[in-house]
């Protein structure tokens, strides 16, 4: 079936639900085909190719919601799904804030978003396999200390998503994506370290070359060799783009409406206040053509848009769906997200930090003694309190230059103080995924080691 067929099917499910007694209904249908190949030690390790479909419905009886999903898209399967959702709605509680977006709020972002490219599906299997092979080979070619590999993979997917609701919205869109990554293992004496690099895009032509991905991955693994554990002290900490992105992910959770209305975020009630250094601007934009975080509408049928979340240090907007907006007396920001069904949660489009003026080299150059964090581990971020304590690995900086690898340490602080302590934002912003950040320098954090 094509997008139009799925759009019609979603609208039909909404009609069935209304016919069976639902006051409101919304239906999501998704279909996708995936392909992946992994090369390891120059041989094909796995080859996977398949597709799957699913449908989900959420109904409201009065203001009581019920949800259901199925992988059985036959008329019987869809009817059973609807009945199951209605049965559940009889058991939930009336929630005065539950409901669909207003009709006037529904729609699609204008303009062509370039979410689908024919060149992904058109790539021949042998080309995909060769890309993975070349990627791993490029890593091996960098240095004889790259002795092993966890492999290189090429993966791609082509999918469709349709959404309809009982306020008259019905639309669908098609996306494509592909990616290439490799995980080389470096060894010197007893020291063994791995790292990875990847590229991903909606268009095959926009991928970085296999040679580039392999080389960067190898260089990253090599620079981690022979790490030292350093003494515990308060130090300036530099986050490279990959780890800065992880920090942005934590800020996303803290500004999402679900955490805010429950008062479960350290940023609750801070709208309009200065929460970060003036050099920090955080933007969510799901309308940037071709990027992985773009979409025409959110998972409630509200048009995607650009929202400035932090404007030069001031918290200017939360990220909201219809429900969390109503709870807070605000308007949805078009950030509803969910799988096939259930009450919508809050998601992001392309969430990124506006770039600054200093190059990464200039930022490192400004640090006399400090830590460049290249990897973060574990789940030690408490959004309620802002307490932040995570495992880290990276490079010791001395007189502005990385001098040796550091591992088995933690970095800790409080997100509020960390945001306030951002001294520099780099000029090296790149959109590699749906969260993007340039290099960041935080004035001081506790680095725990020996």
């Amino acid at each position: 079936m094509n997008e139009m067929d799925y759009r019609q099917l979603a609208a039909d499910v909404v009609k069935i639900a209304r016919g069976r007694g639902a006051d409101e209904a919304e239906c999501t249908i998704s279909e996708g085909d995936e392909f992946s190949v992994t090369i390891r030690m120059r041989e094909i390790e796995t080859l996977k190719e398949a597709g799957a479909r699913g449908a989900g419905v959420r109904v409201l009886l009065g203001q009581r919601p019920g949800s259901s999903y199925t992988s059985d898209l036959t008329p019987d399967g869809l009817a059973r799904m609807v009945d199951s959702a209605i049965e559940l709605a009889r058991l939930t509680t009336d929630d005065p804030f539950a409901g669909l977006p207003e009709e006037a709020e529904l729609g699609s972002a204008p303009g062509e978003l370039d979410l689908y490219s024919d060149d992904v599906a058109a790539l021949a299997s042998d080309v995909r396999i060769r890309m993975a092979r070349d990627c791993e080979e490029a890593a091996f070619a960098v240095d004889p200390r790259i002795v092993n590999s966890e492999g290189a993979s090429f993966s791609s997917s082509v999918s469709q998503r349709a959404f309809a609701n009982s306020r008259g919205f019905a639309s669908a869109y098609r996306t494509s994506s592909c990616g290439l990554n490799t995980v080389p293992v470096a060894r010197e004496g007893d020291s063994m370290e791995r790292d990875y690099w990847y590229t991903a895009a909606r268009r095959a032509a926009l991928l970085e070359t296999p040679e580039h991905v392999g080389r960067i991955a190898a260089e990253r693994a090599l620079r981690r060799l022979n790490p030292r554990k350093i003494a515990t002290e308060r130090l300036p900490v530099v986050f490279e783009p990959r780890t800065a992105g992880s920090l942005i992910g934590s800020i996303f959770e803290a500004v999402s409406g679900d955490a805010i209305y429950r008062k479960a975020s350290f940023l609750t009630g801070k709208l309009g206040q200065r929460i970060a250094a003036a050099c920090l601007t955080l933007i969510d934009d799901a309308t940037m053509p071709g990027l992985l975080g773009a979409s025409p509408f959110d998972d409630e049928g509200v048009p995607s848009r650009r929202t400035v979340v932090i404007d030069r240090g001031v918290l200017s907007s939360y990220l909201l769906n219809t429900y969390t907006a109503r709870k807070l007396g605000l308007k949805t920001t078009g950030n509803a997200a969910r799988g096939l069904t259930g009450n919508a949660g809050v998601g992001h489009g392309n969430l990124y930090l506006g770039q600054g003026e200093l190059s990464p080299g200039e930022i490192l150059g400004s640090v006399r003694r400090g830590l460049l964090v290249t990897e973060l581990m574990g789940s030690g971020v408490n959004i309620v309190t802002g307490d932040y304590s995570r495992g880290a690995a990276g490079l010791w900086i001395e007189d502005g230059k990385p001098v040796f690898a550091v591992s088995e340490v933690t970095i800790s602080g409080n997100l509020g103080e960390m945001l306030d302590g951002i001294e520099s934002v780099g000029s090296d912003l790149e959109f590699r995924g749906s969260i993007s950040a340039p290099t960041l320098l935080i004035r001081e954090m506790t680095v725990s080691g020996r």
Binding site: Y69, T92, G380
Partner: protein, 476 residues
């Protein structure tokens, strides 16, 4: 037991000759081995927030995965449509990995007699919905009644019933019915206008709803979550640097899961990328440490009658008195390493290729009295409960995040500490274990482990242990 007793075979009218035909098609281009994994999954969940049952979801998904192995190569395809044409098509796609004439004869399928580790007559998924909604309401009431400072309570009840059917070209035929359920509670406490703190708890297993009747009641988990949130109102920043750490029994077993378990999964070791690669027979921990991965404990969340490749699970000794003994094997690694399968081949769903995974991983009890362990520490940190953990299996470095911990001063528990991450190196950290308590406990049954994008339910356990040196990442 016959194939007729398989839920999936009955529901979709699958006979042995059908399975043999699909396997023959999968091996039609050569290859050493092929298998079929059918899965039918039914799920239910209820969520409560602000004392309102705000969410309720049910769902059904099903499908089949077809795998062909040729040497070290794996071909994989799946279908959510169980019609013969679609299964045969998936078999042909998976077969593309091999080339050449068919060389394996599929032997007749033999059904292995299996035990039932979770004889749950009526799975929670099969019960009246009303009874399950009550569980989240009971938890909410109990958390709020615990202390007036509790101001937000979220409760999730979730169950699923997973039926599997596995047929392999070397003749294994097995099916399983796997019920799973849990209740999770999260509570926020606040004192006056001060900053809030969160506490959480939960539990479950491969059990019927009667599990929630006695000790493991929703009220019990709710009070635990509330107690933790209230306790943390008085928490002080954790220390920073190397310090003596005492782990309490139960959840802190996440230490063995991260520090040892992942590094002993056979795929990493076959490829030589684990910090434990090639170290079988070496002393990697003190003689007090014996660590097992046991998929056979009745009703536990991580337990399975058979793994997702049709192999019965076992109690596998990973470390015996400090000496590294064995790896966790799936079929592919066991073939290539010429080592017996250990019942560790698991997958998230029919869409995923099976890989070696843990089940319930724990450190066996020692002889020390837990009180005596505490008394032996002049200054340190006592960890009672944890959030998540993670490991880099190549360097061996791991972390886990303490969600309830206390300062130890002069052999006694001092003030509670704010969240802190602990970091160590797998093959090194265990050498610092100097005392092992006699109070082994398993966790309450909510663990999830992620690897290569696949999540599976697991369990962990540990008695009280003393680790002489570990890095604690506090902000103090």
């Amino acid at each position: 037991m016959g194939l007729s007793q398989s839920y999936i075979a009955a529901k979709f009218g699958i006979a042995e000759r059908d399975l043999e035909r699909y396997l023959a098609e999968a091996l039609g281009s050569g290859g050493d081995y092929a298998d079929l994994f059918f899965e039918h999954l039914a799920t239910t969940s209820f969520s409560l927030d602000e004392s309102i049952v705000k969410g309720a979801t049910q769902g059904v998904s099903m499908g089949v995965g077809v795998r062909v192995i040729s040497g070290e190569r794996t071909g994989y395809a799946y279908s959510d449509d169980l019609s013969p044409e679609r299964i045969l098509r998936a078999a042909r796609v998976a077969a593309c990995i091999a080339s050449g004439p068919s060389k394996v004869q599929t032997t007749g399928l033999q059904e292995a007699a299996i035990r039932n580790l979770y004889p749950v007559l009526v799975a929670p998924t099969e019960t009246e919905l009303g009874g399950r909604v009550e569980l989240v309401k009971r938890a909410d009431g109990a958390a709020r009644a615990y202390d007036a400072r509790i101001f937000q309570v979220q409760v999730v009840y979730a169950d699923n019933l997973r039926h599997t059917l596995v047929a392999t070209s070397d003749g294994t035929l097995s099916h399983d019915r796997q019920p799973l359920t849990r209740v999770s509670v999260s509570a926020l406490a606040r004192e006056g206008g001060g900053p809030p703190q969160r506490g959480s708890s939960g539990g479950g297993g491969r059990v019927g709803l009667e599990f929630f009747d006695n000790h493991s009641t929703p009220e019990f988990f709710a009070r635990e979550a509330a107690r933790q949130a209230v306790l943390l109102l008085d928490a002080v920043p954790a220390p920073a640097g190397e310090i003596t750490v005492v782990l309490g029994p139960g959840w802190p077993g996440i230490l063995v899961h991260e520090a040892v378990g992942h590094g002993l999964e056979a795929d990493f070791n076959r490829k030589g990328v684990s910090a434990f690669s090639g170290r079988i027979g070496e002393q990697v921990a003190g003689p007090l440490c014996t660590i097992v991965d046991d998929g056979t404990i009745a009703h536990r969340r991580g337990s399975l009658n058979v793994d997702d490749e049709g192999t019965p699970t076992e109690k596998n000794v990973l470390i015996e008195k400090g000496v590294l003994r064995g790896y966790l094997q799936d079929r592919l690694s066991s073939r290539l390493m010429r080592s017996p399968a250990t019942g560790s081949g698991r997958r998230e769903s029919y869409q995923s290729i099976p890989i070696p995974r843990m089940t319930n991983t724990y450190l066996m009890a020692g002889e020390s009295d837990p009180e005596e362990i505490l008394r032996s520490v002049a200054k340190g940190v006592y960890c009672k409960s944890f959030g998540g953990g993670q490991v880099d299996i190549t360097s061996g470095n791991f972390v886990f995040s303490a969600s309830e911990s206390y300062l130890i001063e002069g052999g006694r528990l001092g003030p509670p500490l704010r969240d802190a991450t602990l970091v160590g190196n797998g093959p090194e950290a265990l050498k610092w274990i100097s005392m092992v308590g006699n109070d082994l406990q398993l966790d309450l049954g909510v663990g999830i482990c992620g690897k290569e994008g696949q999540s599976v339910p697991v369990g962990v356990g540990i008695p009280t242990v003393k680790i002489d040196r570990m890095t604690v990442g506090g902000a103090a």
